[in-house]
């Protein structure tokens, strides 16, 4: 088992926030990075506890796939589905451009 780092740098926080699509300001980075290190330090011991042969649990109760009959049931109208949208155009969600310059 590889050693797990227990501190998280300001640059790492910036990178993680980027992956999570959050624009953190400098002041937020200063504030959050040390707090995250403290939290990480307190949970880092986790990797040494369970033996390799312990099965992981994702859900408390066993999950099975659930199907329903393939029949049409009432659903939201287009107007209801769009009712909370920041911007709507021609019965669709209007979004900013999704591609950059290149």
């Amino acid at each position: 088992m590889s050693a797990t780092p227990t501190a998280i740098t300001r640059e790492q926080v910036r990178h993680l926030a980027d992956l999570a699509r959050i624009d953190l300001e400098d002041a937020e980075l200063d504030h959050l990075a040390p707090q995250l290190s403290v939290i990480l330090e307190s949970v880092a011991s986790i990797s040494a506890i369970a033996a390799d042969d312990i099965e992981p649990t994702s859900h408390a109760l066993p999950l099975t796939n659930v199907f329903r009959d393939d029949v049409v049931v009432p659903s939201l109208s287009a107007a209801a589905a769009l009712s909370g949208a920041p911007q709507v155009e021609e019965q669709r969600f209007a979004v900013p451009k999704i591609l950059g310059e290149e």
């Binding site: 999570a20 959050i22 986790i46 859900h59 408390a60 949208a85």
Partner: protein
């Protein structure tokens, strides 16, 4: 009127002593009188509640009430979608969002005839133990307005303790129903995972989240649990079994007889780190139960000491993934930066403006724990610890019918005291988290006031999965024994708030 239990109100409605319109109006008036101080509510729906009350009275008059609780009003945590009533999850990113559909829990409340008074305050996206992380300001504890009401469901618990509602709904991912119950002297139940539908419950950590009753008495919780529980085809993790027997168990328990009941005291959830007054009330409760015929066994759950660490990896991992849906495209806030921004630029700016500190902390922590290279060491290891915790529960339930501990290590702390010390805030949930990781049901009920500060302490009862009825049997017994000893309910000792009682 407003200090009566939901069961008493239901009886008064049935006998014709009062009407739902009168009851609902009394609670709306109480909200108007005291919620300026308590701030339990984010939205009050007076018109909707009064219309539902009138409909309930019409059903009663026609001799066809929809349920035992028809006409008894209720408050709903703002984590559940309510058609036509704004639902914010305590976040700016959902400010003003009016859901086009009802959560299944809400649909069942409406079908059972309960007027919805409004939506209660909570830590943003249910992340917190104090309700201070709400984007709309904190809720205050009716026992002491300078103290926290617990969290994340502080609004629902405070609404009960301040007599602003006779019933409320909460949600519990790591203790958000039970810990607020403990620090406000109210009752809270986290059902077995899958026992109550999560459809329309805005997800924080979907393998842990569970909605449940927040009330002033064990019987009230049982009545409400039977209304909201049971199979829902809209939730793939819903258990296909009826939610029955809770009221019967609570009524059986109320006779105060615990003969033959084996109660396991969890060694790891007590002692160091627990406030003396909390432990004193807990130990006295055990003595009361022994005098009523219960047998006490000490059980060890050695992996529970790792539950907090496992939880603070699994929960943020699931949360970081669940909260990716708040992308400023389909609903909620949209912040558009200057210039000619792309959809991604809009997302980044919106999520920075719309999420508070605690939400950002958890999203970043979860993103980290799930990143390639760290996944096995963090998320994978935490899932293994989850297995060990379930095994501890299995072994413990082989020795005892129910397990018990203090619900929270301390009484309510002061507002602001732990706001910028996340780790110390997290420690509040140390005794409630194991039940979520294993999916077992848990209840908190008041067991007295701590000597140091005269604030409520909570007694936690845990039962095996699908055995929620045991919580009601044992909880109602302890409640009835303690109430007899005190000469009244603990809630009757809440200090007078602004309005006339």
């Amino acid at each position: 009127m407003i200090t009566r239990s939901a069961a008493q109100l239901a009886a008064a409605l049935e006998s014709g002593e009062t009407t739902s319109a009168q009851v609902t109006e009394a609670f709306l008036n109480r909200i108007g009188a005291v919620d300026g101080d308590v701030h339990a509510f984010l939205q009050v729906d007076s018109d909707g509640a009064m219309a539902a009350a009138a409909a309930s009275d019409a059903r009663r008059a026609a001799g066809a009430p929809a349920s035992a609780l028809d006409g008894v009003p209720i408050a709903v945590k703002d984590v559940l979608a309510t058609q036509g009533i704004a639902t914010t999850c305590g976040s700016k990113i959902l400010q003003g969002w009016v859901p086009p559909y009802d959560a299944t829990v809400v649909a069942r409340l409406k079908a059972a005839g309960l007027p919805i008074l409004g939506k209660t305050n909570m830590d943003e996206f249910a992340m917190g133990s104090s309700t201070e992380h709400s984007a709309y300001g904190p809720t205050r504890n009716p026992w002491d307005l300078d103290r926290i009401p617990g969290g994340s469901g502080g609004g629902s618990a405070a609404a009960i303790a301040a007599f602003e509602a006779p019933l409320a709904i909460g949600s519990d991912t790591g203790g958000s129903i039970r810990q607020p119950g403990a620090v406000t002297g109210t009752v809270g139940v986290k059902p077995t995972y899958g026992g109550v539908s999560r459809y329309g419950l805005i997800a924080m950590a979907n393998s842990l989240d569970q909605a449940g009753p927040v009330t002033g008495s064990v019987l009230d919780a049982a009545l409400l649990h039977e209304v909201i529980g049971g199979h829902d085809p809209l939730d793939s993790t819903s258990i296909n079994a009826p939610a029955t027997g809770f009221v019967e168990a609570a009524k059986q328990g109320a006779n105060g007889d615990l003969s033959g009941v084996k109660i396991g005291v969890i060694t790891e959830l007590g002692g160091e780190g627990y406030q003396a007054g909390v432990l004193a009330r807990f130990n006295e409760s055990l003595e009361v139960m022994v005098a009523a015929g219960a047998q006490i066994v000490e059980v060890s759950c050695p992996s529970f000491v790792h539950a907090l660490a496992a939880y603070y990896l699994i929960m943020p991992s699931e949360a970081s993934s669940n909260l990716a849906r708040f992308d400023a495209m389909r609903y909620g806030l949209r912040v558009t930066p200057d210039g000619d921004p792309s959809a991604e630029d809009v997302m980044r700016a919106t999520r920075d403006a719309g999420f508070g500190d605690e939400v950002k902390r958890r999203i970043i922590l979860g993103t980290y724990a799930l990143s390639s290279g760290y996944y096995d060491a963090y998320y994978g290891s935490a899932q293994k610890v989850r297995t060990l915790i379930s095994r501890d529960f299995e072994a413990a339930f082989a020795q005892a019918d129910v397990l018990v501990s203090p619900t929270a290590p301390t009484t309510a702390f002061k507002l602001g005291e732990k706001l910028d010390d996340p780790l110390s805030m997290y420690l509040n949930d140390i005794a409630t988290i194991p039940a979520n990781l294993a999916g077992v049901p848990g209840m908190s009920l008041p067991c007295g006031l701590a000597d140091e500060d005269n604030l409520p302490a909570g007694f936690q009862i845990l039962a095996p999965a699908m055995q929620d009825a045991r919580l009601y049997r044992v909880g109602a017994a302890l409640e009835s024994l303690l109430t007899k000893q005190w000469g009244g309910r603990l809630l009757d000792r809440v200090p007078e708030l602004g309005g006339a009682r």
